[in-house]
Symmetry: C2
Subunit: 386 residues, 2 copies
């Protein structure tokens, strides 16, 4: 783990140098985990020319990173001095992860320093995974596949989308899912994933996920809404792959009875789009181009109106994934990114068929030196529930 | 619901007037729900002298609140003008709920306005519940009691704390828990609650909850850690009461075999502390005094060293509750608050007995005109698991 962390610290130092910053202070759970190997109650500090240091507001056991106990951020300058670290002149702060009040408080603490937003730089560093991180994602993907294989055993005739989801949630937990679904962005609330069936697949949600669903409650308007599963319905399962800190993302479709030909065809188109992407994608390929290829194919198939939704259509067909389900790069028309070796991303061309539900597949991929490798290895055909 | 919302808007206008603000813009899920009755993708805006308005980035159905579609916050000034609302001169923003980047972006959008932090004012408004909110909490409490009654049926000899928790989670979901556990504060991550057993109850966590636990993973170091439940262990269940948007909070203790007398006595002391608080608490009573009473009693019983933890002791014995599990007031020595009619709070005097586990009770109370009313009505004795 130390080599793992040292590699990350060195990359962060390079990013700091590029931004002419000589200090970086990290306080969000995800970046703390990325930089220390665990979530701690406190701050991680990296100096351009010194050892990393953790300032702990609550006790924690950290291997091979020096720690100092503090009670409040106002003690940071003194604690830095005691640790032999210079006060920064230009300090990176997590401007998109910390609250305004917390950032302003830190700006006062480091009043002699200029502060600059560091969230995007950290996001770009996290975009390229280490071999250890990739192994964690493989482990998550394997567990996720095991759970998805068991989904038909959860089904009972007459149950609702939510009742099916609850049994899947239990299987996930018994297979090691730690529950909380990590997504980047303050308002991106989702429980353990999404089960969408029938007309509910068309309902827009307030969240920027690929599809919506009405949910069960006005305070959590997303996903399953109590739809009773009846013959002719597609049931799309897109539950979290959070079996390690590094998630995989996979969607499969289950069918109650026989689906209409329109839905079966759209599902085949989604599989074809994924196969096409797998032939095209390699380092250097533009993420925007991968989106445009998918959109163009959907149009050619006469499925443009139900691609990634109907009433509200998501303007992406894939997304980076790792500690958060929505990392960089995003496969969206506005993306400036090209694929790079070590990126991991989910590709999810989906179609919503009114009254029937959502169809299509999602898999998680690793960008290799010459192409992409699928991590979520499970048959992609629609699975009958009976 | 309209009267409910109008009452909230009027109280917010009063708070704005007190802070000499003529506009308030809200974008966090919890405050959006409080002010509109649902979570939407966009902004709620209240002018001191105009009707409330919602600016939606994503479609949503809102009853009786005027809505305008926008794509990005930069369109807010024009959209305000079209809605016939004046540009604010002094604008409340959620400084503790929005990220620094989002707040700075809004400050640029409202460049002619002075902006002031509004999170604390909103928190203080939400501290006093309406009759409808209290009814929601009663509903949550009833469901939570139903689920807790079924906990012994989840137990199987030889299972771990996590396995027991997973069965409780499933029961919660089948009884209408919407899953996501809402806590105020960016780093306050918890899944559906906490089951603590045996030595794990002593382990500190990075989070500011009453007790800790090692958790299953370094990215989620809280709660159950896979402890196998064996004879002589106390199993403390503190799972979320999120059956409506307004949570209840309740802790009960279960025992495998016979607990040592020390644990049984500490549990009785906790029940006595709650009974004492129930006799003392009424509008006007100081929250700090309620904490001091509990701490003093713990000391008198020779239990000061294990009150609210051992290696790390929480410095509160209760907390407001509603949309978030950790609202105002906090029953902590530093609190300046006194109880007021319409407040709802959880009271949780707990003791950690090394090797045995945690004991004590937690209940949710409503502050009435003359005292407090317990909402979580369930026997408080330690329940045998067999």
């Amino acid at each position: 783990m130390t080599n793992e962390l040292e590699w990350k610290w060195e990359r962060l130092r390079q990013a700091m140098a590029d931004m002419r910053a000589d200090g970086c202070l990290v306080a969000s759970n995800r970046n703390l985990y990325w930089l220390t190997g665990r979530v701690v109650g406190g701050y991680f500090y990296l100096s351009l020319c010194g050892e990393p240091h953790v300032f702990l507001k609550r006790p924690a056991a950290l291997d091979r990173i020096a720690c100092t106990a503090i009670r409040k951020p106002e003690q940071l300058p003194e604690a830095l001095a005691q640790a032999g670290l210079p006060m920064p002149r230009r300090l990176l702060l997590e401007d998109e992860a910390l609250s305004y009040a917390d950032c302003v408080r830190l700006q006062r603490v480091f009043a002699t320093a200029e502060t600059v937003g560091g969230s995007q730089a950290l996001r770009r560093l996290r975009m390229i995974k280490t071999p250890w991180e990739i192994d964690q994602m493989r482990q998550s993907a394997r567990r996720q596949v095991e759970v998805y294989r068991l989904i038909p055993s959860c089904y009972r005739a007459g149950m609702t989308d939510l009742e099916l989801q609850i049994e899947i949630e239990r299987l996930m937990r018994l297979h090691g899912s730690f529950g909380t679904f990590h997504a980047d962005g303050a308002n991106m609330e989702i429980f353990m994933g999404s089960v969408l069936a029938g007309p509910n697949a068309e309902v827009p949600s307030p969240f920027d996920f690929a599809l919506g669903g009405a949910g069960m409650h006005a305070c959590s308007p997303l996903g399953a809404n109590g739809t009773r599963l009846t013959s002719g319905m597609a049931v799309m399962v897109d539950m979290s792959g959070n079996y390690t800190a590094y998630q995989s993302d996979m969607t499969r479709v289950f069918a109650v009875g026989r689906l209409p030909e329109e839905a079966l065809r759209a599902h085949r188109v989604s599989c074809d789009m994924a196969a096409q992407m797998e032939r095209t994608a390699r380092p250097g390929v533009s993420c925007a181009q991968l989106y445009r290829d998918a959109l163009e194919r959907a149009g050619r198939e006469g499925l443009g109106g139900c691609f990634m939704g109907t009433r509200l259509q998501a303007r992406f067909v894939g997304h980076g994934i790792g500690l958060d389900v929505n990392e960089l790069p995003v496969l969206t028309p506005r993306s400036q990114d090209v694929l790079q070796e070590g990126m991991t991303f989910a590709f999810e061309p989906k179609f919503v068929i009114p009254q029937v539900g959502a169809v299509g597949i999602e898999n998680t991929y690793l960008v290799t030196g010459s192409g992409v490798e699928k991590l979520t290895l499970l048959d992609e055909a629609i699975v009958p529930l009976e």
